[in-house]
Subunit: 341 residues, 2 copies
């Protein structure tokens, strides 16, 4: 015989007050017991949890967000989903965040700083509990928005921005340098660098290659093959064709991303250019399919799943108000030596 409250705007939803009534405590106590906040009598906590369970109570995210000025959303800003790298990253982030009760709000920036700022502005209206952004190359507006919002933020894919900035990634420049050293050690002298998109991380890889080539006394600006168009298999094929036609002396090409390298290998087959005999080909990221290429692609394996996982965990700690140390986590990389270089 329960008296049914019937308001003009009743939603039928089980509320905190319903649980409070069932457990014979005040709504505030229910709120605290369920969130594990402050000290609540363990006996009451048990009673409240039992009642909540029995009634099938689930907190209303909108009400909670309005009252606490903080939602259960985590905004994730990534450049592009068509780069499989970010799909892996995102899946790892979601796998950590969802069980903790957070929803992921994805913003695709298309490698555009203005679009990123606009997206962030929109996301911030939802008062996200946390933020995950790609790299450090942001507009001044973006930087200010992040800072002033006070929302915990973790940067992914890159490392090293001094204290106060939380990040999980690896050194893009060092990874590229390591692959360049491998090519040099293999006896290659005229090692070209093929890059597309020309986003910040690509340029850091370019720097790593440059530095090694200069150190070896082999740097030549003509070996840089840069194209601002989006990275793709087709573009890699096209770049490889042009390169072999215009730079016949090149004995290795290091591509900034595997899709370009895969395209190059397909073009090499078509053009009957012997890989690695005449030209070695190396890629970056170890994307799906690279191990199946003819010859199998030598590349740099990057830990994007681990980055997503660690970044999410770091953010979870920050959102709980904990202090995180170290603030910069370097997850390294691995040379993946196969047959093409």
């Amino acid at each position: 015989m329960t008296a049914v409250k019937s308001s003009r705007r009743a939603t039928g939803r089980i509320t905190l007050s319903d649980v409070a009534r069932a457990a014979a405590v005040s709504p505030i106590t229910v709120s605290r017991a369920l969130r594990g906040e402050r000290a609540v009598d363990p006996a009451l906590v048990a009673r409240v949890q039992e009642a909540a369970q029995r009634l099938g109570y689930v907190p209303d995210p909108a009400a909670r967000a309005l009252a606490s000025q903080r939602s259960t959303h985590v905004a994730v800003l990534i450049p592009m989903l068509s780069n499989a790298l970010f799909v892996d990253l995102l899946e790892a982030v979601q796998r950590e965040l969802r069980p903790a009760g957070y929803q992921t709000l994805i913003g695709i920036t298309h490698y555009d700083r203005q679009e990123e700022e606009q997206l962030l502005r929109e996301q911030l209206l939802h008062r996200p509990a946390g933020l995950i952004v790609t790299g450090f190359d942001h507009s001044e507006g973006t930087r200010l928005l992040i800072q002033r919002s006070g929302v915990p933020c973790v940067h992914v894919m890159e490392i090293g921005q001094g204290p106060g900035v939380h990040c999980v990634g690896f050194s893009q420049a060092e990874a590229a340098a390591a692959m360049t050293r491998h090519l040099l050690q293999g006896g290659r002298r005229r090692i070209a660098f093929g890059a597309a998109q020309l986003d910040p991380r690509t340029l850091q890889r370019l720097q790593g290659w440059r530095q090694q080539m200069q150190q070896a006394g082999l740097y030549d600006a003509k070996l840089e093959w840069l194209n601002p168009a989006p990275s793709s298999i087709a573009l890699g094929a096209q770049m490889f064709e042009q390169m072999t036609a215009q730079r016949p002396a090149v004995d290795a090409v290091f591509f900034c991303n595997d899709d370009l390298a895969q395209g190059a290998l397909l073009a090499a087959t078509r053009l009957k250019v012997a890989v690695p005999r005449r030209v070695a080909v190396a890629g970056f990221n170890d994307l799906t399919g690279s191990d199946q290429m003819q010859p199998a692609l030598t590349t740099v394996r990057t830990p994007r799943r681990a980055i997503g996982e660690q970044a999410a965990r770091m953010l979870l700690a920050l959102m709980r108000g904990q202090t995180v140390a170290p603030t910069s986590v370097d997850l390294g990389f691995e040379l993946c030596l196969r047959d093409s270089a």
Copy 2:
């Protein structure tokens, strides 16, 4: 000289009341004017809009959701982001929804009906304004949740479920049948069907192939090469190797997805199996890279971007309370004949 309201819990946010004060009307009038709801005196609308603009007012999504029992979120349930198909779909959806003021909440089901139901249950707590789900193969619980929630819903990728169900897609079976007919017309007799994942749409394609083969009097269960593992380039290579070893008489293989077919072409190169001379290879979806393969892959081009766009527009109309006709939109497909078959 404005009097600054200073509450114990002030958030610093510009609110509806601030705009109301500035425009010298009541908050309700501001609410109505800004949403374009009901009839408001055009002069007042202008005054309100001017004030809102000047103060930089943006509505609070949480407050709005709490009061109206409806958020500005649209939940999108898709099987997997590692299938480029769904990335294309998703990008198209976002491109339509974002300018209309809706945020996309992505749920990845991993082709699992129970996970889909769980995700939907979580999403529904956020009172989404709309729902986009993949296909029609849902658990009974999912079906009930959608129905009882009353949230407008559009199904994508498939068509034809009778009235009352909104969908945008194409006939998977017919598309597969068309490719099978092409292979038959090319003189192929022992056409194998290679499939992975075995999700509902893959099985519909299998049906389309079966029906054509039976009609041609060429059906043989041994030609079905089915693997429940996730679709990938590596798996396609492996399946092709096994098939050519165990079914030497096969003169064509029709794969249910391009990644499998790409892997098969790479394996063929490795095994020195002449494509299409000895075995024709066909794929499905025309994914990135298929045009670059050696030989270029013959496949079925599917309109996933158009599907995303149309589905989003249909949903927008439904969310506005409009009636949509027709409720089922068939966007067709296109044979993409290249060199491999």
